[in-house]
Symmetry: C2
Subunit: 338 residues, 2 copies
DNA sequence: TTGTACGCGTTATCAC
DNA sequence: GTGATAACGCGTACAA
């Protein structure tokens, strides 16, 4: 279309008075050539601003030196931190990262899969928004690593995730040990498999200490702003006569919303109700009172998954862990103080 | 490497008993063919999970149906909102968006430019981290749109940005009209061209109303956490004996840090000091007191730049605005109340 | 509806 | 040890 000016390897070869093979060798530092021709070629490349055509390179090598990251929403601290971490790793290793935002739309996830496949991506890291993966994700044998979310049928793909179950368990246990008797669980609208781990952690801890954790102790929010939904939900819940002196949330925003609701009801945090958020997002340090929360380590998650994918790309399939589960860390702030 | 299974158009042609040309036509809905052959071809594609090879397609057409977005840091609400907006636009138009994170590193920005060039991107949107663009950014005539930040030499590239100068001017004027006598300006460590617009807005408003706006009224933060740096800077500044009853910041985090510093000095917001943030990030609604701020509209910025780029890609160079400047909106909350 | 030249870089083979 | 020649990968588009 608009690329009359495009300079190809052939032009460089002519200008340097050598063959295209030699130019290729100089560029890739393969094969043998004299210092002299190296100079000539490099000068020609410099003078004419030649940039090699990756399309041609990918066509021949069936590899684009590109890796895809499919995620639900970059507009989220946790995911974007993961993305930054992965991007850094691959940049250092001379791979480009293609970030694909699915907006939590399974259709879009599938489309991006095909596109990555089609552009000969060398590997894919997926934070899936699907409960169940389809078979035949990729026509070729592209290495795939599942990150954070683990669809029911993992299809033997390696997984890197954080132990949210354990994190929530610890948080719940902490509240119990601080004397809370009526701890409820607030969870997002998201597909069950995402939150089921977290709910399990809550239920396990409650049962372990002889507290009930039935359906009425669990508030499932509607889709929309978790901050606002949590606020109205907690107000409704307490107005109905339910007792609450502890809340475990599946996000910091839910917790902040819940605290706003409690304030409207003249309940004090942490004196009357203790609250745990999830993810240690910036706002947990800024809200009043400051929010205790559960930290997953997005940087570590990103790095681990990137390393794993790189090993797969390099064909070292042996000795690779099929599941890498990183611990969460409790961060106690004012919202759960005694 | 690892793609023994890769199915090409040739395989499909053989299996359907037609030529590759016909397969290509069926896929692209070009040319004419019978319903019958269409069925055969589609079935073969389905059965063998054929995915067309974009590398070959790009090689031939010199276009990848891919657009690049180069930005300083996805791990930032403002930029990631822009990215989401742009991604949606291109997804609807059947283009893939390649998001490139430069980490504010000019070297990396250049590398990504080359890579996009090399992979035959059809267009590029850049939020540059460079004061000055180099010439010869692209070997080919790739359409480029500058977004948000406007390097000194814009090289006649179209620009989409928000009128931060006017936004800051309005905020400053608002504080003046509320009776503030000693308004200072806190700006980030960033390269001057990014903040110079904003500083201009502050200086203009101050001068307009006869207030001094000299170097000592401007605090330039060091690199690092703006939240923490703003806190310590404002404490130092006031301890030195400087009077302050109004603060204009170039980010919400700076404002929140500044408010923390004021609290340490037992100064009350908004009674003793009124504070304006910038960007209307989530935390401005959550902090105490809630923060007045200046909103740019990332979604609109993204959409406008995407539309503009699309027009350029479609070769409609006429009648396109070389500068698109969107207004900012003041959002007044508790930190500037009377 | 098909045959086929083309786009461009890679790499194995061959020549000096 | 240096370098050239040419086949190859795969989809597109024009001529037939």
């Amino acid at each position: 279309m608009n690329n009359k000016k495009s300079v190809s390897i052939i032009d460089i070869a002519k200008l340097a008075g050598v063959s295209t093979a030699t130019v290729s060798h100089v560029i890739n530092k393969t094969g043998r050539y004299s210092k002299e021709t190296e100079e000539k070629v490099k000068e020609a490349i410099e003078r004419y601003g030649y940039v090699s055509n990756n399309a041609a390179r990918s066509l021949k090598s069936s590899s684009s030196h590109t890796v895809g990251l499919i995620l639900p929403n970059i507009n989220n601290d946790f995911f974007s931190s993961i993305a930054v971490s992965i991007e850094q790793y691959f940049d250092e290793n001379n791979y480009a990262l293609f970030i694909c935002n699915t907006d939590n739309d399974p259709q879009k996830e599938r489309r991006y899969f095909h596109r990555l496949d089609s552009m000969r991506a060398d590997g894919i890291i997926v934070i899936s928004c699907q409960n169940m993966l389809e078979s035949g994700l990729s026509t070729r044998n592209v290495p795939i690593v599942l990150l954070d979310r683990t669809p029911i049928n993992n299809m033997d793909l390696p997984i890197v995730a954080s132990d949210a179950r354990k994190g929530i368990y610890d948080a719940t246990e902490t509240l119990i040990k601080k004397g809370c008797q009526n701890i409820i669980f607030i969870s997002s609208y998201l597909a069950t498999y995402v939150v089921s781990n977290r709910k399990d952690g809550y239920v396990e801890a409650m049962n372990r200490y002889g507290f009930p954790a039935s359906r009425q102790h669990i508030i499932q929010l509607d889709k929309g702003s978790s901050l606002i939904n949590a606020e109205t939900s907690i107000v409704d819940y307490i107005k109905k006569g339910n007792k609450v002196d502890g809340i475990i949330c599946t996000s910091d925003n839910q917790a902040i919303g819940a605290m706003a609701g409690l304030k409207r009801l003249d309940l004090k945090v942490p004196e009357d109700v203790k609250v745990f958020g999830f993810d240690n997002q910036l706002q947990s340090r800024i809200c009043t009172p400051t929010l205790s929360t559960i930290e997953r380590d997005p940087t570590a998650l990103g790095k681990r998954s990137a390393e794993l994918l790189m090993s797969l790309i390099r064909n070292k399939k042996e000795d690779l862990p099929s599941r890498t589960i990183l611990n969460c860390r409790l961060i106690e702030r004012h919202s759960t103080a005694n």
